[in-house]
């Protein structure tokens, strides 16, 4: 079994190969391209399973300490920079999730994207993306991770702007690229600091207790180096995982095709940030009350705030996008409280059910779009939930899969989300009770519980609006279930959404995942990694809250008629408007950053041209011209007559005499060189 680890480097190679083949060779043949992409990721999945099997078989030591393959890559003056691959329990858990979800999404996309003029290119991009994500997971150092990170950033840009004929898609792609860039720069700065302080970027070497200790004692700008570096790294994660305040790109990213939303903006790429934080957690935790608190604070804010926006959105995908932001916030809460496994567990389950929900929404949009075409109606927005209704009767398979995903997201026993979200809340609860006072854990718990209520509310609202009641548009009336290639992945994902939670149920095998992946950071000796016991009170509270929220939403929206006012809007009034406009964050950014910059630029231009600089320049210029005319007079008389012309004559005479030495014959020059060196050596020899 040990030998199977050697297959690890191949995992990202297959999709990369698929990308290369599609781009270079197969891009004229749609079927072949899709087949190549699916085959590539399928092979990766199988290889990953082999590696996972090896990890399971290798036992506890390997799951903690990991298997690694260092590759000496860049010989620098002092040392050799190693890059390479590594597998431990955490990686293996990620390796289970990522390729599998990718495969299902690829299969789904093969039908969803049919008829698109850039079908082959789509599969090339997503293959490259998958290669990037898989590289990121198996990388054993920050540099390789960063390379993969940037590949994903590029793919994200290309895929969000995939329908670049639409102006909004183009802008959304640019926005995503530029917003995440802020985080990337921070991450890169963190990497540079780390390399300059430790001389290595390999995770295992950074997490050696002595290195961590040294990092916590060194100072950068008066702060411990570890705090500065981990804050910078966290900045990268905030950008990639769309945490407040850099979350603005994610909702706009819904302009991309729905499989992309599922792939990048729910299941994998956004979790890269969480993955990075989880990976680097010992560095965050080495100084108590340091960066981790910020992670928890940002996570809590994001979790609550994303959920509130979500209840006021009408676009089916935007609801899910804000839900994603909020759920990522939950993961950050868990990591910020030191609950490594709780975060990772939620990352895994969330990937499955959020991918399911996105694909389900894609299926619905596809159906409504079809219906709209059938009804010869080109004005209805197929993504607006207000145009849907009563789809349950028409799309049984999608509906049931969607219900499973919703149950998982809302946290209904025994679906996946129940277990993972509860572990996070339990973590906060336990820490609150241990501290005995109202501090950060309490607020995190409160934000999480309120967020859970809101989550249930918006999902109830969505289910009610989409599946129940009467169709609110012609398009919805004529909607039809899409084909097998779209529905089968949905059902498979539904199965996972329902049951994946059991890998870490406290009552079964003592929380199996905890022992498999949860102890990865044990050697670093800074985190307390023991599992939180099951908290029945937390479970009861959150279940009650979830059921309440869900039925509230469902009840209010089930029978909404076309053109009727939104009941929540009636209840909340102006608050709803604020929520609908996402707290005006985008407008705030536009006002603060963009408009200010433009204004500053305009001001500078005015300053330059009209007010200060140009007048000064002109004044100086005019003065200079006057002086010049004056000195010109002096020049012609005094300087020219005696100085310049005299010197010129002198040099002309010298040049005429000396140019004879310039024969234009290289051999003459060579002879002179030989003579001179001869005399130099002779002078040296005879000590002159």
């Amino acid at each position: 079994m040990e030998q199977l680890f050697a297959l690890t480097p191949l995992i990202p190679v297959f999709p990369l190969l698929a990308f290369a083949l599609i781009v270079l060779w197969a891009n004229k043949n749609n079927k072949l391209s899709a087949g190549l992409a699916i085959g590539g990721i399928g092979l990766s999945t199988l290889t990953s399973w082999a590696v996972i099997a090896a990890t399971v078989a290798a036992g506890h030591e390997v799951q903690i300490a990991g298997w690694s393959l260092p590759v000496p890559w860049l010989p620098t003056a002092a040392s050799i920079f190693n890059t390479g691959f590594a597998v431990d329990g955490f990686t293996a858990a990620m390796l289970f999730m990522v390729p599998l979800v990718c495969t299902l999404i690829f299969i789904y996309a093969a039908e969803y994207m049919e008829g698109d003029p850039r079908y082959a290119r789509f599969f090339a991009y997503v293959s490259l993306f998958a290669a990037g994500m898989l590289t990121l997971i198996v990388a054993d150092n920050l540099l390789l991770l960063f390379i993969a990170w940037e590949i994903m950033g590029l793919c994200s840009y290309l895929l969000i702007g995939f329908w670049f004929e639409k102006d909004s898609a183009k802008k959304a792609g640019l926005k995503a690229f530029l917003t995440t860039r802020i985080g990337d720069v921070l991450l890169f700065a963190g990497m540079l600091f780390l390399y300059s302080r430790t001389g290595t970027l390999t995770f295992r070497e950074i997490f050696k207790p002595e290195v961590l200790d040294e990092l916590s004692r060194m100072l950068i700008w008066g702060l411990p180096a570890s705090t500065v570096i981990s804050l910078l790294v966290f900045g990268g994660a905030v950008g990639k995982s769309a945490q407040f305040p850099l979350h603005v790109w994610l909702p706009d990213a819904m302009e991309g095709p729905t499989p992309v939303s599922a792939l990048i903006h729910a299941a994998t790429m956004v979790s890269a940030g969480v993955y990075l934080v989880a990976r680097m957690l010992p560095l965050f935790a080495i100084v108590p009350q340091g960066t981790l608190s910020w992670v928890a604070i940002i996570g809590s804010v994001t979790a609550f705030f994303g959920a509130t926006i979500s209840i006021a959105q009408n676009d089916i995908k935007r609801v899910l996008a804000y839900s994603t932001i909020s759920q990522l916030g939950y993961m950050m809460i868990a990591l910020g409280l030191g609950g490594f496994l709780a975060g990772v567990f939620h990352l895994l389950t969330h990937a499955f059910f959020k991918a399911l929900l996105f694909l389900g929404s894609g299926s619905i949009i596809h159906a409504v779009h079809h219906g709209a075409e059938h009804a010869d109606d080109h004005h209805t927005d197929p993504q607006d939930m207000m145009n849907m209704g009563g789809l349950y009767a028409k799309m049984k398979r999608t509906s049931w899969a969607y219900f499973a995903g919703t149950a998982a997201l809302v946290g209904i026993f025994p679906f996946a989300g129940f277990w993972s979200k509860d572990e996070i809340l339990a973590e906060a609860w336990v820490q609150w009770h241990e501290a005995g006072s109202i501090g950060l854990p309490f607020w995190a718990w409160l934000a999480g519980t309120l967020g859970a209520f809101l989550t249930a509310l918006y999902m109830g609202r969505q289910i009610g609006l989409v599946f129940f009641g009467k169709p609110r548009s012609k398009a919805a009336e004529h909607a039809v279930e899409p084909g097998n290639r779209m529905t089968v992945p949905l059902l498979v994902l539904a199965l996972f959404a329902a049951f994946i939670g059991f890998i870490n149920v406290p009552f079964i095998a003592n929380g199996w995942l905890h022992h498999f992946a949860g102890l990865v950071h044990e050697p670093a000796e800074v985190l307390h990694l023991e599992a939180v016991p099951f908290q029945i009170s937390v479970a009861l509270v959150s279940t009650a809250v979830a059921l309440l929220g869900f039925f509230l939403g469902w009840g209010m929206y089930r029978n909404l008629k076309a053109g009727q006012q939104d009941p929540l809007a009636r209840m909340l009034g102006p608050v709803f408007t604020v929520l609908k406009n996402k707290y005006y964050v985008d407008e705030f950014y536009k006002f603060v950053f963009i408009d200010t910059t433009v204004a500053l630029a305009n001001f500078s231009a005015k300053f330059d041209y009209d007010w200060v600089i140009n007048p000064i320049v002109n004044f100086v210029g005019n003065t200079g011209r006057l002086l010049g005319e004056l000195s010109g007079r002096i020049d012609t008389v005094v300087v020219d007559g005696m100085g310049v012309l005299g010197t010129a004559r002198l040099f002309k005479w010298m040049g005429r005499e000396l140019r004879l030495t310039q024969t234009g014959q290289a051999q003459n020059y060579l002879l002179v060189i030989a003579l001179v060196s001869l005399s130099l050596i002779a002078m040296y020899l005879f000590g002159i």
Partner: protein, 167 residues
């Protein structure tokens, strides 16, 4: 004793070849003398525990440079086969300067006390060279490859028949 005899044979090849290169009027002979000199040098390298270098010497100098020179001589043979003297006006000066330089340098060679080491020669010359090329001298090595590429392209562009290139 044997080594000295071999050394003298190679020396005759090297210096005799060199003398031939600079003294003969016929350029074609000069090129042949040049390859003789190069071959002797390869023998030197073998004696100096540099077998790889000897092979490189043969391949590059005899197999490529001498052949290229012969080729160039053949291509421009109209001006090569003349009976004019092959030396220029500064010949007499060169005849004074170079022997002087030689004597000074020999004086230098004899005067300096070279720190000769008596250690045994390296056995793994090839692996050491490989490690150095891809290790400490990686960047010069890469730069050299770029230089060769540039020289290749440059030589083709320079020597291309301009009239033909225009059509």
């Amino acid at each position: 004793m044997t080594e000295q005899i071999v050394f003298f044979i190679f020396t005759i090849m090297v210096l005799g070849g060199g003398l031939g290169v600079v003294s003969t009027k016929n350029l074609y002979y000069a090129a042949l003398f040049l390859s003789l000199s190069f071959s002797g040098m390869a023998g030197y390298f073998i004696m100096l525990n540099a077998g790889f270098l000897a092979a490189v010497q043969i391949i590059v100098y005899v197999g490529a440079i001498a052949i290229l020179i012969l080729f160039a001589i053949m291509l421009s043979r109209k001006v090569m086969t003349t009976n004019e003297p092959q030396t220029n006006k500064q010949n007499w000066l060169a005849l004074i300067v170079t022997p002087l330089l030689y004597l000074t340098l020999i004086f230098l060679v004899v005067k300096v006390n070279w720190p000769v080491s008596s250690a045994a020669p390296a056995l793994d010359v090839l692996t050491q060279m490989g490690a150095q090329f891809l290790g400490g001298y990686l960047i010069p090595f890469e730069v050299m490859s770029v230089l060769l590429l540039v020289a290749l392209v440059g030589a083709i562009i320079l020597a291309r028949d301009v009239e033909k290139g225009r059509e």
